[in-house]
């Protein structure tokens, strides 16, 4: 039986960043990576760019073609892991292969999820989360089609935008009252919806599909709750996603809406770690573990999982629900709490020209959320204040100004962040300019 120091299940943001961290700290340990897809590591969020023709297939890859070889990782592509035995430290692949490991990382990601809809099974519908989904969408839109997207979350809206770029006539049905109801607030939703309207994408909000009728293959008809009917040549189901936990659950790992991990990305079972979209990990804004199925969050968790698997003891700093996305040329950036759940929050907004809008959400004197559309430069300063749970009492009035920056911070804080935060600067060799 093959045996490895480290086995990794998954091949996306969390898995690859774990590989990098492992290799940089353990140059000699053997690493095997198992992935059910046949592609080498690609960036899942870029599938909408691929379909829209903004990048080519080469642009999809997250790492160079010699990546696995270059850091000496055995890449088992097209190899699904069927089960793990935590006691014997063995995993079994779909082909029946058994592999022994010393430490295991579960980076199993997420899977599309939707409530049952009558008639859905008779239709050859699409989801929009993988490269294979993107390929199917590309081939099905080689001629103009009528496309129906169910769900106006991030995946649904990026699917709608990609379909539009392919010349499709697009309709989006969303059961909440507006697009991107979770990621955005009402005003920003409106700005995105306006852009969609300008592109002749029809948004039907506050409506659900009550049943579907097949018209053969990919084609069908949707009947909405209000009785109206929509004929489509292509159906994209983008209602939601959920953590992929079946492997972890079958192995007896505690999973309550996501694999549970401690601050070192360790599961409840010794020597099994987990990271990424399948995991509930600390959200510093809400102050408890949450699933934030977002690429940057998964990458960061993977990095910390790898470090800890390699023997460091370094706690995951926690993250927040942060997102950057662009719809028809309108950049939309958000972090933390965008829609305050009750009256215990202070909301500051600033509305500029066109699509420029800024919002900060405060709890007491602590900034817990932000949203920016249009002019998004320097948004990260707010994100970092949110991440640091910074007290912003003295700079509250400047937060949403276009010129907001370190100039608004107290001088000592500014010095800390700009100079002292950079390691090794004191006593370093100094070079000055010759002057103008």
């Amino acid at each position: 039986m093959d045996a490895y120091d480290y086995a990794i299940v998954g091949n996306s943001a969390a898995a690859i960043n774990a590989c990098d961290a492992l290799r940089s700290r353990d140059p000699g340990g053997s690493i095997a990576l198992f992935c059910e897809e046949k592609h080498r590591c690609y960036s899942r969020p870029l599938i909408s760019y691929l379909v829209a023709g903004e990048i080519n297939t080469q642009g999809m890859y997250y790492r160079p073609s010699n990546y696995y070889r270059s850091i000496n990782v055995e890449f088992h592509k097209g190899t699904r892991v069927d089960s793990i035995d935590p006691a014997k430290k063995i995993l079994t692949t779909a082909g029946g292969g058994k592999i022994k490991w010393r430490k295991l990382l579960l980076a199993t990601g997420f899977t599309p999820f939707f409530p049952p809809v009558e008639g859905l099974e008779e239709i050859d519908y699409l989801t929009f989360i993988s490269w294979d989904d993107a390929k199917r969408m590309l081939s099905l839109t080689s001629r103009p089609v009528n496309a129906l997207v169910v769900g106006a979350g991030l995946i649904g809206m990026k699917a709608a935008e990609a379909l539009h770029a392919r010349g499709a006539v697009v309709t989006v049905v969303e059961k909440m009252e507006r697009v991107l109801p979770q990621a955005l607030d009402e005003r920003a939703s409106g700005l995105v919806a306006d852009r969609c309207g300008g592109m002749d994408i029809q948004i039907i909000a506050g409506e659900s599909v009550s049943r579907l009728q097949s018209r053969g293959g990919n084609k069908g008809r949707a009947v909405l709750e209000n009785g109206s009917e929509i004929d489509f040549d292509l159906l994209v189901m983008a209602v939601g996603v959920r953590p992929r936990t079946e492997l972890a659950e079958a192995a007896g790992l505690p999973c309550a809406g996501g694999i549970q991990v401690d601050q070192y990305q360790r599961t409840a079972v010794a020597d099994i770690y987990a990271a990424g979209d399948a995991v509930r990990a600390m959200d510093v804004v809400i102050g408890e573990p949450a699933v934030n199925a977002l690429w940057p969050v998964a990458a960061l968790q993977g990095k910390y999982a790898g470090r800890n698997m390699a023997g460091e003891e370094i706690p995951y700093p926690g993250c927040n629900s942060m997102n950057s996305v662009e719809f028809f040329g309108l950049p939309v950036l958000s972090a933390g709490i965008v829609n305050p759940p009750d009256d215990g929050y202070e909301v500051i907004t600033r509305l500029g020209e066109g699509g420029d809008y800024r919002k900060a959400v405060l709890r007491g004197d602590v900034i817990v959320g932000m949203l920016m559309t249009g002019k998004i430069e320097r948004a990260g300063i707010l994100t970092s204040l949110i991440q640091e749970r910074a007290n912003v009492r003295r700079i509250k009035n400047f937060l949403l100004e276009e010129g907001f920056g370190h100039i608004n911070f107290p001088r000592s804080v500014r010095r800390d962040r700009i100079v002292d935060a950079v390691a090794g600067l004191r006593g370093a060799e100094v070079t000055r300019g010759q002057g103008g």
Binding site: S43, P296, S324, L333, E377, I407, R414, V422
Partner: protein
Amino acid sequence: MIRIIPREEFCIGCRLCEIHCIVQHSKSKDIIKAFKRERRPVKRVEVEEEGHVSFALQCRHCDEAPCITACLSGAMQRDPDTGAVVNDRERCVGCWTCILVCPYGAVRRDEAEKRVVGKCDLCPDLEIPACVANCPNEALIMVED
């Protein structure tokens, strides 16, 4: 590696750092052409100013760089030779995730030619980065650690 440190007690807010940064990252590297005849590149250093206080700030090339971890495409990387955080403009797709996570606001949209981000690259072709070399009052200094 090279680090650039601002010294606000010496900064006069002249923004020559911004101008020479733009020139250095332009096609011709000629000040008139860069500003008048070519597509002007985005500035990679920015003077922040309030009243009589000002300083210039560019990428800190963080040891734990959030932009590298957050990058969707893998374009943002650390140069193994110089230690600088650099963006591969061929692989950058302009998703702005780095802008979302940079604590210094040091990454900017650069859409002059294609949709990518621009940031300080420590002027790899120069012995001293343009902003440091052209600061008239030593308000930007270069250190090596």
